[in-house]
């Protein structure tokens, strides 16, 4: 009970510190930092997806990110060649032409065959990992968390460098205050103990067509960004875990990781910054070793 209260107070303090920082936020743009954007639930092929992609391109002029992680529902509806073009290649053409790489996770609207689409950089795998600088990314398939994938994740995390950031991204959020689906609690039962055990720092998910930043849960930062194409207007039912949210327009995130700090900004389709802050990497000293 005391621990719970203590964490609640710390969470509040962290949220306050981040909120205070919103007015004074600035990306450091360090030369060797890791810079990326985060999008989710974007693959509609409709005008708002194009406008959001255009805004990403605009933001890249002042925040030159190198790659994008996509949190699933990359292609809604059909999966014909024309769908790949209309719902991905066309809206993100400028970014793709500029050499920006996309790393996709699969959502519940995605066909497994998307893993063979080279621009998604999945190399034929439903789940995979990659490194950028001092950050180790783990893209998971939350549609199908079978024992094989769980084993793979544990081995990957176990062998990961403890001095690196560990970031997981997948489609279904473990924590969510959105009205439509809510959190994937069954998935949380399975994944959260693994994340805690192996010191995952940050988790990005989509599925809910809103943006939400959740207060740290067991030391882990959770973001939901599922409004880069779809939008469920006023779909966020702010709760005691909500640190920040945005549910009235499309959005995406910009992230810079410089050493032990993660700077983030959430930007709407029109270029308004709706959330921002700095996260200090949690030290793994207190994380149980296998």
């Amino acid at each position: 009970m005391i621990l719970r209260r203590r964490f609640f107070l710390i969470g509040l303090f962290l949220a306050f510190a981040i909120a205070q920082g919103a007015d004074q936020f600035k990306f450091p743009l360090t030369s060797n930092s890791v810079r990326f954007a985060v999008i989710g639930d974007m693959g509609t092929g409709a005008k708002p997806e194009f406008q959001t992609a255009d805004q990403m391109d605009e933001q890249r002029k002042t925040f030159p990110f190198d790659f994008v992680i996509a949190l699933g529902d990359n292609l809604y509806g059909g999966h014909s060649p024309a769908d790949f073009e209309k719902k991905f290649a066309a809206p993100y053409k400028d970014l793709l032409d500029a050499g920006v790489k996309f790393y996709a996770a699969l959502g519940n609207h995605d066909d497994s065959s998307e893993r063979f689409y080279k621009p998604f950089n999945m190399n034929g795998a439903n789940y995979y990992s990659f490194k950028k600088g001092n950050v180790h990314f783990f893209a998971l398939d939350s549609n199908y968390m079978d024992p094989k994938q769980v084993d793979w994740l544990q081995k990957q995390l176990q062998s990961a460098d403890s001095n690196e950031w560990k970031i997981c991204f997948f489609h279904h959020p473990l924590y969510s205050s959105a009205r439509k689906h809510g959190p994937a609690t069954d998935l949380k039962l399975l994944l959260e103990p693994i994340f805690v055990k192996y010191g995952v720092n940050v988790v990005f998910a989509g599925h809910e067509h809103i943006y939400e930043r959740v207060l740290p849960q067991k030391g882990i930062y959770y973001f939901t960004e599922g409004s880069s194409g779809q939008l469920r207007a006023h779909g966020l039912d702010r709760s005691s875990i909500t640190a920040a949210g945005f549910d009235t327009d499309r959005a995406f995130m910009l992230v810079e990781i410089a050493d032990d700090q993660m700077y983030f900004e959430t930007v709407s389709r029109t270029g308004t910054v709706v959330d921002s802050g700095v996260i200090q990497r949690q030290r793994a000293a207190s994380i149980a070793k296998p």
Partner: protein, 220 residues
Amino acid sequence: MKTRSRSAVQVRSAVLTAVAVFVSTPISASAGQGSPPQTPQVQNQPAQNPAPDLKSPGFQEFSDRVQKYVQLHKSVEATLPKLKATNEPELIVAHQKMLARKIKAVRAHTKRGDIFTPAAKEDFVKAISSEFQGPQAPHAKATIKQGAPLMKVHLHVNEIYPESIPYTSVPPTMLQKLPKLPEEVAYRAVSSDLVLLDVKANLVVDYLAGILPVEAQNGQ
């Protein structure tokens, strides 16, 4: 509207202070902030239900038939150009369609229950009932409920999985208790049906109708 200013020093020091306090408590011993009101309380305990016997005759029969199917899949796929990551979605789509067409032709006379045999069905019913009656039941049910499609989906063995119907996540805790599958096939939940899907061909290999407890349909 942008609110970027020149200094992040204050924020940084505030955050660093908070983190210093934060890390003084072991993460593994910490408690979360609770859940939104509509969320079932999560205990983060391992499943308490007895694990199903995956060596039971029904599951064994199922696994044997899955293996036979996968052999067939592989032999058909070997006749096609190998699919590698490509910039051309035409190749991906063509490969999937061709694979499906050839498997369908080879299995033209297959029928429901060829893989989910009566004995297998019995074991699946037991395992799934146990999952949906145990301590994880609210979470597993929530997973199914979240993904249940609005409309009734009519599945047919040896036919393409309907392209526009989103997948329902199979409850992960349930997946841990069912026979493991080779990578060519996967379990899928569609309404109350448990489907064995060929993921490369997007083909319904077999399915068990009405085995999952769908309490309410909730869209997408």
